[in-house]
């Protein structure tokens, strides 16, 4: 069972603000789901390697070549900034 304070800690790691009431609800729901996935402990995986890629692709590389985005694409990306100054994404101070 995840406690309310554990849920607060997880929410903090996930950068999501939650209220005390929400923490209580999430503690119940997440505990239910964690209880459900406990099932995996029954599986014998002693000699099994964890999977890395499902179709077996390995070290897929491509030429290190810049393909310039179109001007429209660039403008659209800039227009999607929540706050901007000229063509820069404007953000709050870190501290």
């Amino acid at each position: 069972m995840l406690s309310k304070s554990e849920v607060q800690k997880i929410a903090n790691l996930a950068r999501i603000e939650i209220t005390g009431e929400e923490a209580e609800k999430y503690s119940r729901e997440l505990s239910d789901i964690l209880g459900f996935v406990e099932k995996l402990n029954e599986a014998d995986t002693e000699k099994v390697e964890p999977i890395s890629h499902i179709t077996g692709a390995k070290n897929v590389t491509r030429e290190d070549k810049v393909i310039e985005a179109s001007d429209e694409t660039k403008e659209r990306m800039i227009n999607n900034f929540p706050e901007k100054k000229d063509r820069f994404d404007k953000v709050k101070a870190v501290f």
């Binding site: 996930a14 995996l40 599986a43 499902i54 985005a69 999607n80 706050e83």
Partner: protein
Amino acid sequence: MIRELHKKLINQEITSEQLTSDYFDSIEKRDPQIEAYISLNKEFALDKARAVDGKIKNGEEVDLLAGIPCSIKDNICIEGLPVTAGSKILENFVAPYDATVIEKLKKCDAVFLGKTNLDEFAMGSSTENSAYQTTKNPHDISRVPGGSSGGGAAAVAAGMCAFALGSDTGGSIRQPASLCGIVGLKPTYGAVSRYGLIAMASSFDQIGPLAKSAEDAAIVFSKISGRDRLDSTSMNMAEKKYEDLLGGADISNLKIGVPKEYFSEGGLDGGVKNLVEKAIEKYEKLGARVVEMSLPSGDYALATYYIIMPCEVSSNLARFDGIRFGQSVEKEKTEDNLVLSDIYFKSRAKYLGREVKRRIMLGTYALSAGYYDQYYKKAQKTRSLIKKEFEEAFKKIDLILGPTAPTPAFKIGEKTENPLEMYLADIYTVTANIAGIPAISIPAGSVRIEDKELPVGLQLMGKWFDEETLLNAAHVFENS
């Protein structure tokens, strides 16, 4: 359906403009009730349709999909159009580029009618998690269409587009196809580029068609599959026109396995079970060999999925932080003394929905220090187990048959209170995503509940990159 429309278009019996307007008419008539579409692009669509009509008039050769009106799930980017992923955090976001599948369909001159509803970031099995609207099942509007591609499935079923593109992470194409009575194909992982699909769980996500028939699904799959340098997990495929490979009526060489575990699970509806058994008889009559088999590790599939998927979700959705795009409390200017971290915490709290937050937190927990081995690594091992079991199984058989979903469409609101209960809707579909194999849901009949005929889907799963056998078996079933 696509072939017939194509014939009419090139014989100039109809124009794409007329066809497109007709679809908009039926959207106008039915969609206020069904709510399959989040946004429509009428001018954009009609322009394209007229351009195709021009080409045909000039005697130019056009693609099978040219002028054919379709819908696109609203987590796939079309340059210059809004894309919400069903989330408030992407309200007003405009896609800066085309997804590879869109670029490919544009080359075919397909007509995009609009963007369809989904559970927020494709997380759900009913569209009830959409931040915008709940789509209704066209067969009974008190019931869900399934999800997460419920908008696209309902649009196809209600005649509001000729076909749809959806995405499938744990069943999100096949389960709504089953509940709406249409065909839904989840291709092999890597068969279709994911570039421009808003990522949910990258090791499971695949884009695929929702359509009226296996042939239509084959046509669309031929157009959208193949290696793409912008998605390093996409694979080189032999260039095939899958639609031309159908019609091998002789399926006597086909060996179909039916896992006994699928019928021992308590949650399987009696009516669904009955229809799957009838389908088995039909395949036997058609000459296929049906054998009982066992997939014991399948028992771990849903638990494996509900660890790996949230882990990938927590990582993929970290980008929605109110800084570079999407909704942000930064725009609101209510509090002046906010620092950078406040923007993250408050934007995510305000604009992400409950199920999305739940999965982000679950994944964050499973990946956090001290729990990684217990959860993530363990699940990657059971994923190996499940994949191995399929590899062994496919040495002896060609296809695996079973139900797509445990029940027909359920009532709106029936499963929203208990997340775990909703997760069980994916019990038969997640294994294909875990193993990376292709799977298709095709209509198997219907059950009568409260005076309504509710469709039931049959699921076939095939070998890696063997969509040909899968589509052909579906096609034969449909046409006999």
